[in-house]
């Protein structure tokens, strides 16, 4: 029960704690207190946990030693019992802050705290003005000192916050890369939303910070002028020093904010990008699930240019292709002898793609491509006709419309296929602009 003593001494005046003893205890037990600090950063500790921690640090100490040590810390108010949980302890808040300062650990404050300080500075500027108007030099000096101290508080706080922001960024960067980025950067995102964003508003040209600084500055500068005119109530140096500190505070706030943005913005963007990628993938998959892979647009699909040499065509097409090449040596043609009348038809040069597409284009519109081909090449081999069918129906200059399946009789075979009606795609191109105006609502 002895550990609960401070709780039950609630109404009694607290005994005076000698600062030297506290400092000495901290110095003497630093090796034990420092690791405990980290634990207390996470929360409170029960008496058993406390004893356990100390025992781990001081293996050779007896339970009595530990009890004695903890008793000293409690008596010196280094450890205080948690309200309503007398068997749990925490570091005295003041000591905790002091230790955090010594350990260069910084907890990010609230933007609202700075705003509150600023409002207070504005009020102090009002009091300074009143004291001067009343020609009360003591009050004026006191208010100026208060103002100076408050500005120092803000500076201290800004410095602390900046260090805390660095720590936030470092923690995000060095944490396990295997855990999701959203978790890894949760602190960054929260810090941005809760500190940086309000700070941006605060330090804005029309924000509370600038307004407060301007107000205090105006009062101080006016005071300097008035003192010169009406006589000195306080030393000008004091006013000038306070003014300089105000300006320092303003610069410091802007630098802190800039630093915070530089540190956290890239991380925030990375986290946002990560979220966007994950969301985008999920959205795309849901579209594909509903509409199939072909929901991916034909127009934006992967494309490739293919060299001619890979064309699959009939023997004549290959020949025609080679025929068109500049260095092609044609098969030796048998020229008819002048004195002999020619027997049979002359060998015909193979048709080229250009020739066929031109002919086809001139014959547009074609109600049935296959019928047209059979008319054009009644003696043509089936593979050659099918090649032309395939080639012409894919020609970009033509627009096709699928016909019903039917049989076609070539010179050699009967073929069953779904032919196309062809029209010129150029005509469509000229009418296209009117089509593009169609509302998506009419898509179906």
């Amino acid at each position: 029960m002895q550990y609960n003593r401070p709780l039950f001494l609630g109404n009694e005046p607290k005994p005076m704690i000698e600062p030297k003893r506290v400092l000495r205890a901290l110095a003497e037990h630093w090796a034990l207190i420092e690791p405990l600090c980290e634990r207390f950063d996470q929360g409170t500790l029960s008496l058993v946990e406390l004893r356990h921690h100390v025992a781990r640090q001081q293996v050779e100490s007896t339970p009595q030693d530990i009890t004695q040590l903890l008793d000293v810390w409690i008596r010196l108010d280094i450890l205080v019992p948690v309200a309503k949980s007398p068997n749990r302890f925490e570091l005295n808040a003041q000591i905790h802050d002091f230790l955090a300062y010594l350990r260069r650990e910084h907890r990010l404050g609230l933007c609202l705290e700075i705003e509150a300080y600023l409002r207070h500075l504005e009020r102090l500027a009002g009091h300074i003005q009143d004291a001067f108007d009343n020609r009360d030099s003591d009050d004026l000096a006191r208010q100026l000192r208060l103002l100076d101290m408050r500005v120092r508080d803000v500076l201290k706080k800004l410095d602390n916050d900046e260090q805390a922001l660095v720590a936030v960024a470092e923690r995000a960067k060095t944490s396990n890369r295997q855990i999701p980025l959203r978790q890894r950067y949760a602190e960054v995102l929260a810090t941005w939303d809760e500190y940086v964003e309000p700070m941006i508003q605060l330090v804005n040209a029309d924000g509370a910070f600038e307004q407060g600084v301007r107000k205090v500055e105006t009062v101080l500068l006016k005071l300097l002028g008035e003192q010169a005119r009406l006589g000195h109530l306080v030393d000008d140096d004091m006013l000038l020093r306070t003014h300089a500190r105000i300006l320092e505070m303003q610069t410091s706030a802007q630098l802190t904010l800039r630093h915070a943005r530089e540190l956290l913005l890239p991380l925030r963007e990375e986290a946002r990008r990560h979220n966007a990628v994950t969301r985008g993938a999920a959205l795309a998959l849901s579209v594909i699930r509903r509409k199939g892979l072909d929901a991916l647009p034909q127009a934006a699909m992967p494309l490739f240019t293919r060299p001619q040499s890979t064309f699959l065509g009939s023997a004549s097409q290959v020949e025609a292709y080679v025929y068109a090449l500049a260095r092609f040596e044609p098969k030796p043609a048998r020229f008819p002898k002048a004195h002999k009348p020619s027997s049979g038809a002359l060998p015909r040069a193979p048709r080229t793609v250009k020739e066929m597409t031109d002919r086809c284009e001139q014959a547009l519109p074609l109600p049935d491509l296959m019928v047209w081909l059979l008319e054009q090449e009644p003696e043509g081999a089936t593979d050659e006709l099918l090649y032309w069918f395939s080639r012409l129906s894919r020609e970009k200059r033509f627009k096709r419309q699928r016909l019903d399946r039917r049989d076609y009789t070539t010179h050699e075979h009967r073929v069953s296929l779904r032919s196309f009606a062809l029209t010129s795609s150029r005509e469509d191109a000229t009418t296209a602009p009117t089509d593009t105006n169609a509302s998506p609502a009419h898509a179906s």
Partner: protein
């Protein structure tokens, strides 16, 4: 611009690779160094030849094919689908998709479970077995310079950003949620595709009477028209 061909010492291999649809990144240090050192020269030369060399600041180079002479293929569809699946799968597992796809790796042993989980989607890409997944997707990724395989580990390379960009484009498209209920298509990166027997069969077999892939439905034509109009407005 004056072009000194003697400076372009890697012209032949660079052209060969880019023409095949390969993405050159730091994984191929010689080609990459040449391209970075003589970026403008290469770009000018290729432009004169009718090829557009894209220099992505994230560290890779590739050809964008001429739209007019290009043919449709399924590769980018499959690779996009695989990327979407992988991002979702990794996020579901609590892993960081960006860390994996931006320079991270995926073990071959992870493929069976991936295939099992997304069998319905892979089916749409005509992938039914792990072998097909490796053959049709991961091997194509390595051939195109998106990934590198070594000892059963696939390491993803910077060109994967092209697919991550698709995810971003999808997410940033405010209307896309609406497309779940409409026919507007998703964007897909344009890849240069090397020849494959599959592509040849599909496009040029005279006896292939299956519907032509280039054929647009009315809805697709409308979507395309809207997209083109949007591009004009943006331009």
């Amino acid at each position: 611009m004056h072009l000194d061909l003697s400076e372009l010492s890697q012209l032949a291999p660079i052209f060969r690779e880019l023409f095949k649809g390969f993405h050159v990144s730091r994984r191929d240090p010689e080609l990459y160094a040449q391209l970075s050192n003589f970026q403008d020269q290469y770009r000018t030369l290729f432009k004169a030849l009718g090829f557009e060399l894209v220099c992505d600041t994230r560290g890779f180079y590739y050809f964008v094919p001429d739209m007019a002479a290009a043919q449709v293929n399924k590769t980018a569809q499959r690779l996009s689908l695989f990327t979407f699946i992988l991002v979702e799968h990794l996020a579901d597992q609590g892993r960081d998709p960006m860390a994996v796809l931006d320079g991270g790796s995926l073990g071959r042993d992870e493929l069976p479970s991936l295939l099992d989980k997304y069998r319905d989607l892979f089916l749409q890409a005509e992938v039914q077995t792990v072998d097909e997944l490796e053959e049709k997707i991961l091997r194509r990724m390595t051939q195109l310079g998106f990934a590198h395989e070594e000892g059963g580990i696939y390491r993803f390379l910077p060109p994967m950003h092209r697919f991550l960009d698709v995810c971003l484009a999808v997410q940033q498209d405010r209307d896309l949620a609406a497309t779940l209920h409409s026919d507007l298509p998703l964007p897909t990166p344009t890849l240069v595709e090397e020849e494959s027997p599959e592509a040849l069969n599909r496009t040029d077999d005279p006896l292939d009477l299956s519907p032509f892939e280039g054929e647009e439905s009315e809805e697709q034509a409308l979507a395309r028209a809207i997209r083109e109009e949007q591009q004009e407005i943006d331009a």
